[in-house]
């Protein structure tokens, strides 16, 4: 992009910049990430670091090949954030190459092949997650119970888990809340019986459940989301519409058939629901810009999450829901526009009432 010397008004500028936005999002993600890393121990720490570093490396490589300046784009933090989000969605004991592959898919395929920062149609982290889930179903669905940093595997055994694919982690594998519900439902169990087997609400809120590295700390994710709202990085529209739609739909079905559908609270506090509502669906690049468009987009994501979880073959549907709605964004953008000052919604000048 060649831009001539800025001489035009305005001659002052807000202090907010792209890198500040990215840093704020990372800061908001930090508590939940910290909790995830603590709960799942050293293997999670290694995987996280490898994924973020790989994302930055891929970014630098792509920028170099595209002949763009590397330093200013790396400094804006968008690549690190993408790597971070990819890591958040990985099972904590996954081998290192899963993280590298995820970062590569996100940065190279989902971001730079579309033209780099701001040009991608699909959310890079969700592209990575969806592709990994389909390509590597075993690695991507092997969950472990949160053992804690101290009680879990030590530093050296953890190195073996992440980098050598040590076999012993099969021993502590368990199911995530959603996959447990799904498999039990498929096995013909009733909801009351299934709910007896899932972790209680307190555990789900505090992150003491098996799941992806960064999506279990529901309460801390919620807190981070609120911080983004307060700092006006995001608006309330997308979180409200995503969560509202999930609640409404799952509530309606739960009321109609409580034996076959889990209650709304389970939907809200399991899987990547909260992470999606505040951090994934609110991604600037891949969501509509107008408030009405955002509402439509969020409602679509919420509905798709519920549909995929209830009737799809995967227990979790966040990645697919987000990608499907990403594809709708240009369409929403075209038809849902803010009303122009002095014009009607159709673009005609407002009518003038009888004047001489």
């Amino acid at each position: 992009m060649t831009v001539p010397v800025l001489l035009s008004a305005p001659h002052t500028h807000t202090v907010f910049t792209v890198s500040r936005t990215m840093l704020m999002v990372m800061a908001a993600l930090a508590p939940a990430t910290g909790l995830g890393l603590y709960e799942f121990g050293w293997p999670a720490v290694f995987l996280f670091l490898v994924t973020v570093a790989a994302a930055c490396l891929f970014e630098a490589l792509c920028l170099r090949i595209a002949g763009r300046p590397v330093a200013p784009f790396l400094r804006d933090g968008s690549a690190a954030l993408t790597g971070w989000l990819v890591a958040m969605t990985l099972p904590p004991y996954a081998p290192w190459w899963v993280g590298v592959l995820g970062a590569g898919i996100a940065i190279v395929i989902a971001k730079h092949l579309f033209g780099g920062l701001g040009q991608n149609l699909f959310n890079p982290a969700m592209v990575a997650r969806a592709m990994l889930l389909i390509a590597l179903p075993v690695q991507m669905t092997t969950w472990v119970a949160p053992a804690g940093l101290i009680d879990g595997p030590g530093f050296v055994p953890s190195l073996a888990i992440t980098f050598l694919g040590a076999p012993e982690y099969d021993a502590i594998s368990s199911a995530s809340t959603l996959s447990h519900v799904k498999s039990q439902l498929n096995a013909g169990a009733g909801m009351a019986q299934i709910l007896g087997g899932v972790p209680d609400l307190r555990a789900r809120l505090l992150g003491a459940v098996p799941g992806s590295m960064g999506e279990t700390g529901t309460l801390l994710l919620l807190l981070g989301g609120l911080a983004l709202l307060v700092t006006r990085i995001i608006t309330l529209v997308i979180p409200i519409s995503v969560l509202g739609t999930i609640t409404l739909l799952s509530g309606a079905f739960w009321l109609m058939a409580p034996e076959r559908f889990p209650p709304p609270l389970l939907h809200l506090t399991s899987g990547a629901t909260i992470l999606c509502a505040f951090f994934i669906a609110t991604d600037y690049v891949t969501s509509p810009v107008s408030a009405a468009g955002k509402a439509l987009y969020g409602a679509g994501i919420g509905a798709l999450i519920f549909v995929i979880r209830s009737w799809g073959s995967f227990p979790e549907g966040v990645a697919f829901a987000v990608l499907l709605m990403n594809a709708c964004t240009p369409l929403i953008e075209t038809y849902v526009r803010p009303r122009v000052f002095g014009r009607t919604r159709t673009g005609k000048p407002l009518p003038l009432k009888g004047r001489k």
Binding site: M1, V3, P4, L6, L7, S8, A9, P10, H11, T12, H13, T14, V15, F16, T17, V18, R20, T21, P72, F73, D76, S78, G116, L117, G118, Q119, V237, Y284, V285, S287, V289, S290, A291, A292, A295, E333, R337, P338, R339, V340, F341, G342, R343, P349, L350, P351, L352, R355, K356
Partner: protein
């Protein structure tokens, strides 16, 4: 935004807010407590003949003429123009061209005046008693005094006043919002000259025949609000003060009308069509001076401010005073200067040549330091929507910019380029520092150029066709004349022949020689 806005459930005037907009750092405290000081007459003044929107005024003086203060030196030319008066007494050095106070730096016709230092008044305009004057007389006086809108756009005030003949007006809205950061000249004027402003507003209200005067002031000027709240009438017309929220661009006329009256001006229409006419408070003050004292518009209050200026101040400056003299009067520049602006930081224009003069529309001279402008290199758009949230016109600036960058100007127009008021909110809010307004200005300029070329082509074609038609008409007329002539000649010949035949029948057949003679005679 609009979807969840409760404002649609109530009358918007209850909230007096506008959609979008920004809250820049105002930095008005630099000059808000600085009482207006009068600057001494500078040695040299350059008075451009175009300080208003419309046609260039016609110079009435020539080199070496002696002029007196207030003397008419440039006469309005045509319906859209304004008179120009000598700001002080002195000798005309030149009637030529000088750099315009505009970033283009193009020359405009300018009268250069060497002040004699006596500042001697010539003849004042005839005074009017507005209580007895009729609307046309008041309008004529405002026109004579060369008053233009002093908020920055410099639209001839009398031309605006004449909209009373076209529309039914009910409200005179005085714009004291002063939403641009740094500027405090209107604030100071309202605090110090409230009575005069109210009187000027009353005079205009009388000329317009409106039922009410509303003075709109942003909430960050409590002293000005208190000063104007002392008055309930302006020359018999009820006057009220509307406090509007501090929000840029509240001072945009159409947005102010929406905030204060709840009426939204249709696209491409004027506020007058809603019955509201908007004038700046400083314009009202100038009207007061012109009508009560017969003083033409020869000076204005300018806020001289910015982080790179030694002593920020509000200065009453004669029109035509070089910017550099004003800066020197305020202690000169200090530290690193990033740019010098005429007007406010949001919509003002940078100047290179500091000898350009202060004109009627100059409301501020700002010397900004780098930490104030916060210049940074543009990054790609991340579609964050900050610009859409900031736009007071409901546009999607990021999308317009993308279309302009890919040379799709018609596409940009389709999504509202021409509804953009260039307020700069989007470019201010953009976290990627994309120069959005610059792109829009570029596209508007390009479109205007295309338009004028198209117009020119059409005009050339029309003229060529008219010429062809004219020539054909002339040729046709000639042909017809010729044919007529021929017919006449033939008729005469036939008549002569008939005559000859008659003569021949009576007399013996003529000898050929005689017959030829007869034919010759007939031809003669």
């Amino acid at each position: 935004m609009s979807m969840f806005s409760l404002a649609t459930l109530f009358r918007p005037s209850q909230f007096l807010t506008i959609r979008g907009g920004i809250h820049p750092e105002y930095r008005k405290q630099l000059t808000s407590e600085a009482e207006v000081i009068r600057m001494p007459v500078p040695p040299l003044l350059r008075v451009p003949l175009q300080q208003h929107s419309g046609a260039i005024a016609e110079p009435l003086v020539k080199r070496d003429d002696l002029v007196l203060k207030g003397q008419l030196i440039g006469r309005a030319r045509g319906a859209m123009s304004a008179n120009i008066h000598a700001p002080t007494s002195g000798r005309v050095l030149a009637v030529g061209h000088f750099t315009a106070p505009h970033p283009s730096g193009l020359p405009v016709p300018t009268i250069t005046l060497r002040a004699d230092g006596e500042d001697r008044w010539g003849e004042h305009l005839p005074r009017l008693r507005p209580e007895d004057a009729d609307p046309d007389e008041i309008a004529a006086q405002i026109e004579r005094a060369g008053i233009v809108g002093l908020g920055g756009a410099a639209f001839p005030a009398a031309v605006k006043l004449n909209q009373r003949k076209k529309y039914t007006l009910d409200t005179l809205l005085l714009n004291g919002a002063e939403c641009e950061p740094y500027l405090t000249c209107d604030d100071r004027l309202m605090r110090e000259k409230a009575e005069e402003i109210v009187d000027g507003a009353g005079i205009m209200a009388r000329a317009l025949g409106v039922a009410r005067i509303i003075v709109a002031i942003e909430s960050n000027k409590p002293e000005a609000i208190a000063a104007l709240r002392q008055f309930s009438h302006g020359l018999g017309t009820p006057l009220s003060v509307a406090v509007v929220p501090t929000q840029y661009p509240m001072g945009s006329a159409k947005h102010l009308v929406l905030a204060v009256t709840g009426k939204e001006t249709p696209a491409r229409a004027r506020t007058a069509e809603l019955g509201v006419l908007v004038y700046n408070v400083a314009t009202a003050h100038a009207v007061h001076l012109a009508v009560r004292y017969g003083e033409p518009l020869i000076s204005r209050i300018v806020t001289v401010s910015g982080g790179a200026l030694a002593q920020p101040a509000n200065v009453e400056v004669l029109i035509g005073t070089p910017v550099t003299d004003v800066i020197d009067f305020c202690g000169g520049l200090i530290g690193e200067v990033d740019r010098i602006l005429l007007g406010g930081p949001m919509m003002g224009q940078p100047v290179q040549n500091l000898r350009v003069p202060v004109v009627k529309g100059t409301c501020g001279i700002l010397a900004l330091a780098p930490w104030e402008t916060r210049k940074s290199d543009p990054m790609p758009c991340i579609r964050c929507g900050s610009c859409v949230q900031a736009c007071p016109c409901g546009l999607t600036p990021f999308e317009m910019n993308a279309r302009i960058q890919s040379d799709d100007l018609e596409g940009a127009v389709k999504i509202g380029l021409m509804d953009c008021i260039a307020c700069g909110s989007c470019a201010y809010a953009c976290p990627s520092s994309i120069p959005l307004v610059q792109g829009f200005d570029f596209a508007k300029g390009k479109l205007a150029e295309r338009q004028s070329r198209k117009h020119q082509q059409a005009e050339t074609k029309r003229l060529a066709e008219a010429r062809k038609a004219r020539e054909e008409a002339i040729a046709e007329a000639k042909r017809q004349a010729m044919a007529r002539h021929k017919a006449q000649a033939a008729a005469k010949k036939a008549a002569a022949a008939a005559q000859a035949a008659e003569a021949g029948a009576e007399a013996p057949p003529p000898v050929p020689g005689i017959a030829t003679d007869v034919g010759k005679e007939a031809r003669q």
